[in-house]
Symmetry: C2
C-alpha cells in the first residue's frame, strides 16, 4: 500500500484556507481520483514537538492507494486540475512525498 503525503510548510507569511481545502479542494481531488484513492486524512498543524514551537506544517494530507502505479494512473490525467487549484487556498508550495505503508492502523498493511 502506498501513501501520498502533501505537507504545507508553515511560516510567517503562510496563508492556508482550511475551509476551502475541506469543502472544495479535497472533494474535487476525491472525485477526480475515484476509487483508486482508498482513504484521505487531513490535519491542521497546532504545535511543534517542544513547548512554544510552531508546527512545521500548517496542514498535512495523506492519501492512500493500493500501489504507486494505482496512484500514478489515477493522478496523472488530473494533475493539472488538482495542482491548479492550489493557489485558491494557499500561497505555499507543498512538500509531496510518496511512501510505502509499513504499518496501517497499528497493524501490518
Amino acid at each position: 500500500m502506498t501513501k501520498v503525503s502533501v505537507l504545507y510548510p508553515n511560516g510567517a507569511n503562510t496563508k492556508f484556507d482550511m475551509n476551502y481545502y475541506l469543502a472544495k479542494h479535497i472533494p474535487m481531488v476525491k472525485q477526480k481520483l475515484g476509487s483508486a484513492c482508498k482513504e484521505v486524512a487531513v490535519e491542521e498543524g497546532i504545535a511543534g514537538g517542544v513547548p512554544g514551537a510552531a508546527a512545521t506544517y500548517v496542514a498535512m494530507a495523506q492519501l492512500a492507494f493500493d500501489s504507486i502505479n494505482a496512484f500514478q494512473a489515477a493522478f496523472g490525467p488530473h494533475a493539472e486540475a488538482i495542482m491548479g487549484d492550489i493557489p485558491n487556498y494557499t500561497n505555499v508550495k507543498p512538500v509531496v512525498q510518496i511512501s510505502e505503508v509499513k504499518m496501517w492502523r497499528g497493524l501490518e498493511p
Copy 2:
C-alpha cells in the same frame, strides 16, 4: 482528535533501521502509551513529488489520540524512555508536530 507526526529527515548520511523501528521501537511506544494511543501508522519514504526527487523523509509515523491532553498525559511519563531509544535506529533528529484532525478516513473526525 489529535495526531502526533514524527518525521525523520532524509539526507545523504541518514541511517534508519526500519526493522528495529517496527519490531522494537513502535511496540515499546504502544506499550508505554497504552490505550491513549488509538492508532499508529508507519511509512517508509520512497520518492518525492517530482520524477527523480528523493523523499523528504526517510520514515514517517502518525499516532492518534483523543486530544492533545490525552497525548501529553500518556507521553509525559515515558518521554525519556521513548526518546532515549531513538539512537538505536537512526542518526537523525525527527521533526515532531501536533495536529488537529480535520478529516479522518475521508470523513469528519
